[in-house]
């Protein structure tokens, strides 16, 4: 299920503007990889290029390779729609579909993919996904209520349930806790730790304690200067990044002497 991601010499452009330059990274399966760095350094752009979501913006394109399990995501015969069905994403702000019930939100992705399911199979999948997202006990009595009626933290866990219901190979998370309070954040972090047994998780975060708490590996992105493309400055095991980083820029950023 979980897959390994190899990125080589990846440049990402918005029109003529080069947003990210020369990323080389190997993301291990069944682990959590954190991406940190100042705002505007391209880490979200890089994350979105892993499931071709950056292409939503007109003029966005990449050069280089993103290979998942031997398959280049950007080869000509690959449909971005198929890529996104295999690589789930959780966004910064919780975004359950407001016109759908909790139940329908969870199976929204499955409904797209398939193949008709029996009602009982769908019920089982909804329960399994909501349990997987640690939300089942809180919502099991109101599955037919709108998802937008939940608290922010619950909505975000609903979005995670929706993402894992389709059994993706990789789960991308773009600052999933930045709109949440510390308790909800803790709930999501615990959840990530449970989920990494089944999925490869890549998370963008501004919270360095969070990166240190949950991730095995950490990548530090930075800008060479204003108007310059963002670069992956250092990619190492999290412990090393936070104790003895190779690069001076990483240490400056982590210790708060910069940005």
């Amino acid at each position: 299920m979980a897959k390994r991601i190899d990125v080589s010499d990846l440049d990402i452009y918005y029109g003529n503007f080069k947003a990210v330059e020369g990323v080389n990274i190997s993301i291990e399966p069944r682990s959590i990889t954190a991406l940190i760095g100042p705002s505007g350094c391209g880490k979200s752009t890089f994350l979105r290029s892993l499931n071709r979501m950056h292409e939503v913006i007109p003029g966005a394109r990449v050069e280089g390779k993103v290979v998942i399990d031997g398959q280049d995501l950007y080869s000509a015969d690959i449909d971005p729609v198929d890529v996104r069905r295999q690589i789930g994403m959780v966004f910064q702000r919780p975004n359950p579909f407001p016109t759908m019930s909790i139940y329908d939100n969870v199976i929204a992705g499955v409904r797209l993919n398939s193949t008709r399911m029996k009602k009982s199979e769908m019920d089982d999948l909804v329960e399994k996904s909501l349990r997987g997202a640690n939300l089942w006990t809180e919502v099991k009595d109101r599955l037919n209520r709108p998802g937008s009626g939940l608290s922010g933290g619950q909505q975000q866990r609903l979005c995670i349930a929706r993402a894992i219901a389709v059994e993706p190979e990789v789960l991308l998370m773009d600052e999933p806790c930045s709109a949440l309070d510390p308790i909800s954040t803790l709930a999501i972090e615990d959840l990530m730790t449970e989920l990494k047994d089944r999925f490869t998780i890549v998370i963008v975060t501004h919270n360095m304690q969070q990166a240190a708490r949950v991730s095995e590996s950490t990548g530090f992105f930075n800008l060479a200067g204003v108007g310059q493309p963002g670069r992956l400055v250092e990619f190492n095991p999290t412990e090393k990044i936070f104790s003895n980083p190779d690069e001076q820029a990483t240490e400056d950023y982590i210790t708060g002497r910069f940005g």
Partner: protein, 314 residues
């Protein structure tokens, strides 16, 4: 806490002058619109009253008021319903094309062209309807009567002039297309990027994304736009008066030469030659139109509110 000898009077919230002026003018405007509405209703009822109470023999045509107004109400509704049935799906499709499919330049140009449709005076639509559309539709009506005549809608005999209920329904459809598509376009383009991205990230194609995130969000706006269009279609006078040869009674036969007229067109055509009780009768039919329009609006409001929980506004 210190004790004071006199209990402090609760401090009156300070009302600033600007606030008071604004609150006053806003409530004034709100009350004004209610007064205008009430005034119209009172005028209509007052002027219609003599016709409502009069004996059937004194009314134009020597028939009861319901027998006089009934076919007009029917004609008004059926023309408007045809217009709505034709225009709404088309307008939604146009709006979706402009917002999510067309290249940006083409989209802007198309938007302007559609808005231009709204700027054409209704008398011009009337001329277009009678001079171009009606003759063009005559062969089609002949074919419909011949081949689909078993459907009551197309029972025929087909009109030789093409000035039928279906023709005016189509003219009205073109007339209300801009308002519905303009409002749909507006709401579709405001569908939150957050939810569109949520759908795309689940692996939705563009059409699936539209179905999951755009249409549910825009639904109440589309209904609102359709109701505005319906209001225009119900009240349209000039185009109907020119195009429709309204002489018949209630019939679902849309392509024959005997059609019920509509309330607004009937008033416009009859008013110059009417005196006395005939005027009161026309005003009574106007009262009926007023009631229909209000009912339509309330129905639309009810439809929009029914699933307010799921609207995304909370």
């Amino acid at each position: 806490m210190t004790l004071t000898s006199a209990p402090p009077t609760p401090p009156r919230p300070k009302r600033r002058v600007g606030d008071r002026i604004f609150a006053g003018s806003a409530s004034g405007s709100g009350i004004l619109i209610l007064l205008v509405l009430a005034g119209v209703a009172i005028f209509l009822i007052g002027e219609a009253w003599p016709a409502i109470t009069a004996a059937a023999a004194d009314l134009p045509g020597g028939q009861t008021l319901t027998a006089y107004i009934g076919p007009l109400v029917f004609g008004t509704l059926i023309a408007a319903v045809i217009a709505l049935l034709v225009a709404t799906p088309l307008a939604v499709a146009i709006a979706l094309y402009i917002t999510y499919y067309a290249p940006r330049r083409l989209a802007t140009a198309m938007g302007y062209v559609i808005d231009l449709l709204a700027a054409i005076p209704s008398v011009v639509y009337g001329f277009w309807g009678i001079a171009a559309l009606a003759p063009a539709l005559v062969p089609l009506y002949g074919w419909l009567a011949e081949n689909l005549g078993f459907i009551p809608l197309f029972a025929g005999p087909a009109s030789a002039t093409g000035r039928t209920m279906l023709t005016i329904g189509l003219v009205l459809a073109v007339m209300i297309l801009p308002i519905i598509s303009a409002i749909s376009r507006e709401v579709f383009s405001q569908a939150p990027a957050l939810h569109r991205e949520a759908a795309l990230a689940l692996g939705a194609t563009r059409w699936e994304m539209i179905r999951m995130a755009v249409l549910p969000y825009g639904k109440s706006g589309v209904i609102g736009g359709a109701m505005l269009g319906l209001g225009r279609a119900l009240g349209e006078t000039m185009a109907v008066a020119i195009v429709l040869s309204g002489s018949g009674g209630i019939t679902f036969n849309l392509i024959s030469s005997s059609n019920p007229s509509t309330i607004a067109a009937n008033i416009a055509l009859q008013f110059p030659e009417s005196t006395g009780l005939a005027v009161n009768t026309l005003i009574a039919s106007g009262l009926a139109l007023f009631a229909i329009t209000m009912a339509v609006n309330m129905l639309a409001r009810w439809i929009v509110n029914r699933r307010a929980d799921f609207s995304g506004a909370n």
